[in-house]
Amino acid sequence: MNMDVNTLIAAIDAIDDSLVLEFSDTESLKKEFGQKEKRTTLRFKRILLVAAVSALLIAAGLFAVSSSDNDFILDLKEGIYSIFGNSVSINVEDLDKKPEEIKYKSGEMIDILKKEGFTDIVLPTAMLTDEWGIVDYEHTRSDVIIYNHKINFNMTNNCTIRLDEHRTEQTVGYSNSVAKNIQSLTVSGIDVVVTELENRICKIDYTVFIDIGEGMFKESQYRIHFQSGITFEQAVEIAKTIA
């Protein structure tokens, strides 16, 4: 038979009785799943509290060290980071992700991604010139991350771009770095964090959150690593071209 909505409903209706029975009692489900959610929330709040207190205690010491070291740049929006020793933890969840306006671009990489079903791509225009070319491309899929694209670019340097597209409720975590320099900037309404790691690798992190209507959202997390040849200042300039 053709697949129509009634066939699909009939097929769902015929799934195993044991599964249907298991979830028949609303009150016991509330006890089982509602409590679990509360525990998670409490645990998360506790972690946040510990992180906040730790950050306060450590921050004074860190800034004392960094102020004596003129190389260190820490220029971040308030409330989106925690500092542990010489490690900076950015809470990706708290970054602004809703762009004011998106101009969808064209280019070789954009075309490849579109073929894979990865749409609404927001990348620095500085990287969509002839100077950059794709040398390697991987596409994987997992339970949490719908699409995971790893793209290796070459220029005068190596660059890896990792794009994760999520359709779950979770943004994938915190970005932890032992940073030499770190700066946040807002480009086209999106918060972008540029980091220079101790081994001189620079990276750009940002997340784009698009309302695709009817209560549905799509979230794309971008992580661009410059393996070498790009200075922190150049990475900041590239980040400014995200649009």
Binding site: A11, I12, L19, L29, K30, T168
Partner: protein, 186 residues
């Protein structure tokens, strides 16, 4: 009362069978009917019609488990009523649930493709079995019991947008599983 005793009453053609059935599963029946119809009066009528339906099929049927057997009759009776009513009268919950699946089907399957219902059911069953317990619960409560997002939020404590996103992912994955069904002809 145990299910087997209730079935014995049906077999003996005792009207107490319907009272006992209603006492034991009446709330759940009403919940499923209300999820589909969104209207108390219509739901009560459908549940009563369903009890009669059960009366008419036991005997010869000897269902085990009794609950899913009865709920299927309630759901089908309610869906029939829902289709009979004008589109305007459709309850929001059912419309949303129906529309989600309708949109999924129209965007994912071509009219040339032929599917076997049993094979599709097996794929969906395997897909649901592969989910975590919490995700199984969300899927079944939404697409079998036709719970609203508000009801699912009340059960889990998660916000509605998060549940929507998760279920949207399940729908996409379910289509991929159905597409793998053996014996599909184009």
């Amino acid at each position: 009362m145990e299910d087997s005793k209730i079935i014995e009453l049906f077999n003996a053609r005792s009207e107490r069978a319907i009272d006992e059935l209603s006492k034991k599963y009446g709330t759940k029946c009403m919940q499923v009917a209300y999820n589909v119809l969104g209207n108390k009066e219509d739901s009560e009528e459908c549940v009563n019609d369903s009890y009669l339906g059960v009366w008419n099929v036991i005997p010869p049927e000897n269902p085990n488990p009794l609950l899913t057997f009865v709920l299927r009759i309630v759901k089908n009776t309610s869906l029939k009523r829902c289709r009979y009513n004008s589109a305007k009268k459709r309850a929001d919950v059912h419309t949303q649930c129906f529309d989600e699946l309708d949109e999924l089907v129209s965007s994912s399957f071509s009219v040339e493709e032929q599917y076997d219902l049993k094979a599709v059911t097996k794929e969906i069953n395997d897909f649901v079995q592969s989910l975590s317990r919490e995700n199984q619960m969300l899927f079944i409560r939404r697409y079998w019991y036709m719970d609203s997002y508000a009801a699912l939020s009340e059960i889990t404590g998660m916000n509605e947008a998060a549940i929507r996103k998760r279920l949207s992912r399940f729908r996409t994955e379910m289509v991929q599983c159905i597409k793998k069904t053996e014996g599909v002809t184009a």
